[in-house]
């Protein structure tokens, strides 16, 4: 058990820190949350800066255009970019953290060459077409059909909760290619251009007031069979190869940020008199231990994935369960610190309190995560 970093890793940190200090002041002003073209341009510009400096696709293998760094270096990158206040992955989330890694793992050389470089450069944005109105937690029940017509698939159906659909160029799409097969065995993974005829995007307004995601309607959309990744009807396995990445290191920066928010909450409470409330004080003290432990759990999972050959283990589900609830508790505590100020929807902590409500739902609800932990880690029998 060793928490120290090697001289090479510390050198990597020092160079990164210096680079961040040089480039962050050059970033343009952050666009408004509702300015989608502006947000895309901003996220793309940041990704391009990372690419030009050799920080794009850090943990992707070198033969896929990545940097092939160690998991510890990847962790350092996520920690330092957060500490420096660098932009988040933003609109590049699906491309860099899910569709891209899926293509890295399962794509042909031609598919890798076509799709990976524009993801790494920030030139093309991807979105995720997995969930459907009747296929949420039971994702494998999806019904969007893809019927083969020569060298193309003809796709009809609808998708829901698709983040960044309005500005995406590509969609990683799960479709049913064999309606007769058992539900997990008739699914294929396709790359669909969002400007294809028959694709209609309808933004959905979230409870936070913004349109962060959308419904996508597909009416006889034609996609070349060559744009299927993996074998026909093997899409469930293809997507699960990388699904766990969403639960692995995706939240490292946020854990760092949560501890900083906690420090700010304590100081705000001291200044506004709420600090005299022992119940609130103790709550903040408990959250301090919670977020320190979550940071250590991240390091534990990263170390475990290294010994398991880079594949994120079920530890990701343990982390996601604990973190999503801790984040909600953090912003509930923030509301107590703010008092009536917690009714001001423009306050950052209030906006974050609202968005935190999605954390126990998105990327597998807490209930689905508990099933995963119980069945895959603890070996309890499947059932209801």
């Amino acid at each position: 058990m060793d928490l120290t970093y090697t001289p090479e890793e510390e050198d990597f940190r020092a160079r990164l820190r210096q680079w961040l200090g040089e480039v962050l002041p050059l970033l343009p002003a952050k666009p408004a949350a509702t300015d989608w073209p502006g947000r895309r341009a901003y996220d793309a510009a940041w990704q391009r800066m990372l690419y030009d400096a050799g920080y794009a696709g850090l943990h992707w293998p070198r033969d896929a255009g990545g940097q092939g760094v160690t998991p510890a270096q990847h962790l350092i990158f996520l920690e330092e970019t957060e500490l420096a206040g660098a932009p988040y992955v933003g609109a590049n989330f699906v491309g860099l953290l899910h569709a891209g890694p899926t293509i890295v793992a399962e794509g042909t050389p031609e598919q890798r060459a076509r799709w990976l470089p524009p993801i790494l450069r920030g030139d093309e944005i991807w979105c995720q077409g997995f969930s459907e109105p009747d296929a949420g937690s039971d994702l494998a029940a999806l019904r969007t059909r893809a019927v083969r017509d020569g060298d193309t698939y003809v796709i009809s159906g609808s998708k829901i909760w698709t983040s960044h659909a309005e500005i995406a160029d590509w969609c990683e799409l799960l479709v049913r290619t064999d309606p007769e097969a058992p539900k997990h065995r008739g699914i294929s993974w396709l790359a669909m251009p969002m400007d294809a005829p028959g694709v209609t995007v309808r933004p959905l307004r979230t409870l936070a007031g913004s349109a962060e995601f959308a419904e996508v309607f597909l009416d006889e959309v034609r996609v070349p069979a060559a744009d299927r990744v993996g074998a026909e009807n093997d899409g469930w396995r293809v997507t699960n190869v990388t699904l766990a990445f969403e639960r692995g290191t995706a939240f490292v920066g946020e854990v760092v940020a949560c501890r900083r928010v906690l420090g700010a909450l304590a100081r705000t409470a001291r200044d506004n008199g709420r600090w005299d409330d022992a119940v609130l004080r103790r709550r903040l003290g408990r959250l301090s231990a919670e977020f320190t432990a979550l940071w250590r759990l991240t390091q534990w999972n990263v170390s475990a994935s290294r010994s398991a050959g880079g594949a994120p283990g079920a530890g990701g589900s343990v982390f996601k369960l604990r973190y999503s609830h801790a984040r909600q508790e953090l912003y509930d505590a923030a509301a107590e610190v703010l008092g009536a100020g917690a009714l001001d929807a423009d306050h950052t902590w209030v906006a974050d309190r609202l968005s935190a409500l999605s954390y126990t739902i998105a990327a597998g609800t807490s209930q689905i995560q508990r099933n995963i932990v119980a069945e895959r880690i603890l070996g309890l029998p499947k059932g209801r």
Partner: protein
């Protein structure tokens, strides 16, 4: 950075688990419930195995290992519910002759000074009748300032924020006045020390001793928390109702999953604190491990249904020991206040 245990550390943990399984299996555990007098032969065997001398330098006959290794071994004692003043003997092995080999058993009590100058609460003594000596630690708790100092990497100091010097005294057990009472944990007889002795002063770093006692106690809580996950899962797979193992029902599955989340989160906190030795991390780790041990035992009891409420099932032994340990070397209330004060003083850095 590789936070996973190294091969030698895994081997040490496995060795401790095997030794305890062979020498303190279920029959011995249940026999100890009926008669909690400590087994001196077992104590000497633990001594021979290097259990108490684990962290003493090899030059003086110790094993020469560190706090992370001690934590891995203590986790196993918690898993096995091994009774006795294990934390005291581990921490005092280099100070009191005969403790390292298991020949002597020492107790350790903490008389935290309250605001009025007297003891802040009852001074507890575990296994009073089995101890040859009692080491009593007196003085104020580490203040917020000294916690902050330790965070900044300064040398630990015995001087506390309240201006009193924390001291340790050594007394022959038979001369210490005590008031035994019926312990909630049948494996751990307890007494209140009625007149805290100030006999022969002992030179030791009290804040550090308290920190390490909290950490080793947290490691035992972690072991208990992990063991009750195993117990709940084993029972859920075997017990059938409505024609299916109860572990196939989500209501039971989700209890078990939450138990694992508690144990694994506490594990990362405890292991990390053993590496950094940082006061803030030790405080947080103890709090999380206490919570995991108590609530995993509670949920394990629930999964066992009516059987869980019986004397015969071992679940209550884990719960009662977890309650006892949660009272020792810093309660959740103390920890939350210390950590809150640290947030104001140091901000929210990692």
């Amino acid at each position: 950075m590789d936070f996973q245990p190294a091969d030698e550390q895994r081997a040490l943990r496995d060795g401790a688990r095997e030794l305890l399984a062979a020498r303190f299996g279920r029959d011995r555990l249940r026999a100890a419930v009926d008669d909690p007098t400590l087994d001196r032969a077992l104590w000497r065997e633990l001594g021979d195995a290097g259990f108490f001398a684990l962290r003493l330098p090899e030059a003086v006959g110790g094993v020469g290992l560190g706090l992370p290794e001690a934590v891995l071994v203590f986790e196993e004692t918690g898993r096995a519910l091994l009774p006795g003043p294990l934390v005291a003997c581990q921490l005092l092995a280099g100070l009191v002759d005969g403790v390292a080999t298991g020949e002597k058993i020492v107790g350790l009590c903490d008389a935290v000074t309250g605001p009025g100058g007297g003891a802040a609460g009852p001074v507890l003594w575990e296994h009073p009748a089995d101890c040859d000596e009692l080491i009593s630690v007196q003085g104020a708790e580490a203040s917020v300032e000294s916690v902050g100092g330790a965070l900044a990497g300064e040398a630990s100091v015995a001087e506390t924020g309240r201006g009193r010097v924390a001291m340790a005294y050594r007394s022959v057990a038979a001369r210490v006045s005590r008031a035994p009472f019926a312990s909630v944990d049948p494996l751990t007889p307890l007494a209140r020390v009625t007149d805290v002795p100030c006999t022969a002063p002992l030179a030791l770093d009290v804040p550090r001793l308290r920190r390490e006692a909290a950490l080793l106690t947290a490691a035992q809580q972690l072991g208990s928390a992990a063991r009750t996950v195993d117990m709940a899962v084993a029972y859920a797979r075997e017990r059938a109702q409505f024609g299916a193992p109860i572990g196939s029902f989500q209501a039971i599955k989700h209890l078990c999953a939450q138990m694992l989340v508690r144990a694994e989160t506490a594990r990362c906190a405890v292991y990390a604190a053993s590496i950094t030795g940082c006061a803030r991390e030790v405080t947080g780790a103890k709090m999380l491990a206490d919570h995991a041990a108590v609530w995993n035992a509670r949920d394990c009891l629930q999964v066992h249904g009516g059987m869980g409420f019986t004397w015969e099932a071992d679940v209550h032994l884990h719960l009662k020991r977890a309650w006892l340990r949660a009272e020792r070397w810093g309660t959740a209330c103390d920890a939350e206040e210390v950590l809150a004060a640290d947030l104001v003083a140091c901000g929210g850095g990692l």
